[in-house]
């Protein structure tokens, strides 16, 4: 065993430890350090290999990559974490796809190696364009509503089948290099078409799934290059992405196929428009503040709207003031709130909310009936009782935070427009519901002012 192989072995162990330590907040930072160390050993080990003789371009490329990567990580606001993950994923997938391309023209591999190479290239290019599209949608450069057309699934499936057939043809005879560019083009087109019908609410699942593809592509590269470290690291990433997307799907009571091919949120918009205006009760910041002060227990339910309005810091101030007045304040986190798994937790942590105040859905739902006030900030579908009561609702069966059980429900919302899924929300019309109309951040800051004034 040469030195680089020993370093690879240690690196693989460090990656496994990284994921193990990631399981709890107390050890999570140790996990990151372990992952960093593993990557460092992998890079150093590779540079030491005798095949690697030309260093100048590698060093330049490493420096350029670091020069792009550092600002991407340091300057991004926390609300942009989903976009950053998507763009970073696109980079990783692009790297893996380009290496596959270079390997193909370099060696024209055969048999099993070519099969692994075609999987690497398919997943790599597909994930590259799909992640770029996801980035566009999350960053709102592209419309985040799902775009659908007739026969969409047939077109997508057809394209995919053609791509797989070309892949098989290439495995049978790798020297048909005319087919190769077509293969790449199909993979990239398929990546774009895959994301077009995906709406913002399904982004958590899709981002996790793309993460899994990027890992599997790296793992396939491991088979091409006969490198166990790549196989292991890629497989860890692949299974992690897959299990996260399964968790997200379960949290919405939907299947994979439904997320990928269902184009949620398009059909229902017409139904929502048909409902006439119904009376709702609204309240001013003064009234809302006094209700909050008189409560004994308050549960805040944040959603993507909180991220958009950047309201997390103001919410933390409100939390601090209410706690000082002896009110018990907790945060109820729905697994799919936001645009990526765990999005709300990160934002609230950024605002310095202690993480033991963030409670998961199953745990908090049993306390809802004993809660005085529920304050919904920028969430909609995840508190919609239609998921439980209306079997015809598009979100039927989705587990929700049972806000409607609380004594008083307050909902901060810009206006009466339907939520992302385009479904009307019964919760707004409940007799114990107060609508607080306004921008989430400015409304919460007036709440803070009102609560502070009565001090």
């Amino acid at each position: 065993m040469s030195v680089f192989q020993a370093l690879y072995l240690v690196a693989a162990a460090l990656f496994i430890l990284a994921l193990k330590w990631m399981s709890a907040p107390a050890t999570a930072r140790r996990g990151v350090i372990s992952g960093e160390l593993g990557m460092l050993l992998a890079v150093v080990g590779t540079l030491m290999r005798h095949e690697v003789v030309n260093y100048q371009w590698i060093v330049v490329a490493l420096l350029v990559g670091a020069a792009i990567g550092v600002p991407l990580a340091v300057l991004m606001p926390m609300t942009a974490v989903p976009q950053r993950t998507a763009i970073s994923q696109a980079c990783g997938a692009l790297a893996s796809a380009l290496i596959g391309t270079a390997e193909y023209y370099h060696r024209y591999p055969t048999g099993f190696t070519m099969a692994a190479l075609s999987i690497e290239i398919l997943l790599g290019f597909l994930t590259f364009t799909a992640s770029l599209m996801a980035f566009g949608k999350l960053h709102e450069i592209l419309p985040s509503r799902p775009i659908t057309y007739k026969g969409q699934n047939v077109v997508n499936l057809g394209l995919f089948v053609i791509a797989v057939l070309i892949g098989i043809a290439l495995v049978i005879n790798p020297h048909q290099s005319g087919l190769f560019p077509a293969y790449v083009a199909l993979a990239m087109t398929f990546g774009v078409l895959l994301i077009i019908p995906i709406g913002g609410a399904d982004m958590p699942t899709v981002i996790a799934l793309l993460n899994s593809y990027a890992g599997l592509s790296a793992s396939a590269m491991g088979f091409v290059l006969d490198n166990k470290l790549l196989i292991i690291a890629g497989a860890l990433d692949g299974s992690s992405g897959l299990i996260l997307s399964i968790i997200m799907c379960r949290a919405m009571n939907r299947s994979f196929t439904n997320v990928l091919f269902g184009a949620f949120g398009q059909l229902q918009t017409s139904a929502a428009a048909a409902t006439e205006a119904r009376p709702v009760r609204s309240a001013s910041p003064e009234e809302a503040a006094s209700i909050l002060e008189d409560a004994r227990s308050v549960v805040v339910i944040p959603g993507y709207g909180m991220a958009v309005a950047q309201a997390q810091h103001k919410i933390r101030e409100l939390h601090d003031m209410l706690v000082k007045k002896g009110v018990e304040v907790r945060f109820a986190i729905h697994p799919v709130a936001g645009r990526m798994p765990g999005h709300m937790n990160v934002l609230l942590a950024e605002a310095d909310v202690p993480y033991d105040k963030l409670v998961e859905m199953d745990e908090i739902n049993s306390d809802m009936a004993m809660t005085d006030v529920v304050l919904v900030v920028g969430a909609n579908d995840i508190v919609n009782p239609a998921a439980q009561n209306d079997p015809n609702s598009p979100i039927a069966g989705m587990p929700i935070l049972q806000a409607y059980k609380a004594r008083t429900v307050m909902i901060i919302k810009r206006g009466m427009s339907a939520g992302f899924a385009g479904i009307d929300n019964e919760l707004y019309y409940q007799p114990n519901t107060l609508m607080l109309f306004g921008d989430a951040r400015s409304f919460v800051s007036s709440l803070v002012k009102e609560v502070g004034a009565t001090n």
């Binding site: 490493l62 990783g92 893996s96 270079a102 993460n211 790549l230 996260l244």
Partner: protein
């Protein structure tokens, strides 16, 4: 190469990944995704091998160069932001105002 051996390694790593990730608290799902995303930049190994070869063609050189840049971007930003996020996760401190 011994493919069978490689496939066994893949299978074991995949199962290990499942078991490890299942235990991660939902609180940490976003940093977890950043971390696995950063680990996927292990493709930098392949990128270095391609661009460092002695008799590589111009095509290999160009593709390898872009691949190293892309993988390093993923690597650096992935680890840095994961750490930045985790620094923010704090328990309630008794001394807090």
């Amino acid at each position: 190469m011994n493919y069978e051996f490689g496939l066994y390694v893949f299978m074991l790593a995949a199962f290990l990944g499942f078991e490890l990730i299942r235990r991660v608290s939902p609180l940490l799902h976003t940093p977890l995704m950043s971390l696995t995303n950063a680990i996927a930049s292990i493709s930098v190994v392949g990128a270095i091998l391609i661009s460092g070869e002695d008799h590589a063609s111009l095509l290999s050189r160009v593709l390898g160069f872009v691949a190293v840049v892309a993988a390093t971007t993923n690597l650096v930003s992935g680890y840095l932001i994961t750490d930045r996020m985790l620094k923010m996760f704090r328990k309630r401190e008794p001394a807090k105002k």
